[in-house]
Symmetry: C2
Subunit: 165 residues, 2 copies
């Protein structure tokens, strides 16, 4: 079963930027990383006027675009999928799933925290908080803190926890 790690934190604290750094570093170490972005509302994808966009816009419940090196799909859904559902249904050939968001699920989490953005952590230990990336002044006991500009150290931690063979 592919492990799941969630990057959580308040709006505009830098979740996507940290996720990018982690994916780049772990990919460089030879791991295959899948990512999940949660969007609370709706989102736009694909480019208006393209054939695949026209397929979906004409009423298809799902449109797949397939080529020899890349594959994409856009689908209507009737509920907000849990991470386990997404993993079981769509994700394989990955060593680790890193998500942006999904604070409310029980999977292990890294919180991005910058004191210029807020005064309090979003997570507490019972949220399955594994580590903090940033500059908290207080932190739960036994939760290590990593520098946002040192993704390599955080990746060592992730590798040890999730990827050691």
């Amino acid at each position: 079963m592919i492990p799941i790690l969630s990057i959580v934190g308040r709006s505009n604290v830098g979740k996507t930027t940290l996720l990018e750094k982690l994916v780049r570093e772990l990919t460089g170490r030879g791991y295959r990383i899948a990512t999940v972005k949660h969007d609370a509302h709706s989102f736009e994808i694909d480019h208006e006027g393209k054939d695949s966009w026209r397929h979906k816009a004409s009423g298809a419940v799902m449109t797949v675009i397939s080529s020899p090196g890349k594959l994409a799909l856009v689908s209507d859904t009737d509920h907000d999928h849990t991470l386990s559902e997404l993993r079981d249904r769509f994700i394989d050939h990955a060593d680790l799933i890193i998500t942006e968001g999904y604070k409310k699920e029980a999977h292990p989490k890294i919180e991005v925290f910058r004191k210029e953005r807020s005064t309090e952590l979003l997570c507490v230990t019972d949220d399955n908080l594994l580590a903090i990336a940033g500059d908290p002044e207080d932190r739960p006991e036994n939760v290590p803190v990593f520098d946002l500009d040192d993704p390599a150290s955080l990746c060592d931690f992730i590798e040890e926890r999730f990827l050691s063979k």
Copy 2:
């Protein structure tokens, strides 16, 4: 097993336009249609700079974007998936899969043909050609021809062949 029907034809003959009409008509009749677009080369999807785009661009082998009403994924692949692979792996909750392209596969086909575009049909009967939409001057025996501007009649035919309960 969800049936597969392919819309084939030469470049710029109007395959996407016919597919749109069929999806709109069949959806209006209450069917759930999934579509597949084949792309021989590569393709772009998602919008540069968006969080999900940044996930994939940083090296993720697959990125999923999930919301309560819509779900999308973009994935690297190591081969050109067959339609059966796509169906088995990704498509459910659909009554019919309509594809654009996939002329070389053995699934039933409708060829879009306009004599202003070419002189010869792309398919012959042994290509599993079910019907022609357009204005061919010659056609294989027992292959019905439908007017490109009359998707309702073609949908009656499709409904009879693929969707009768």
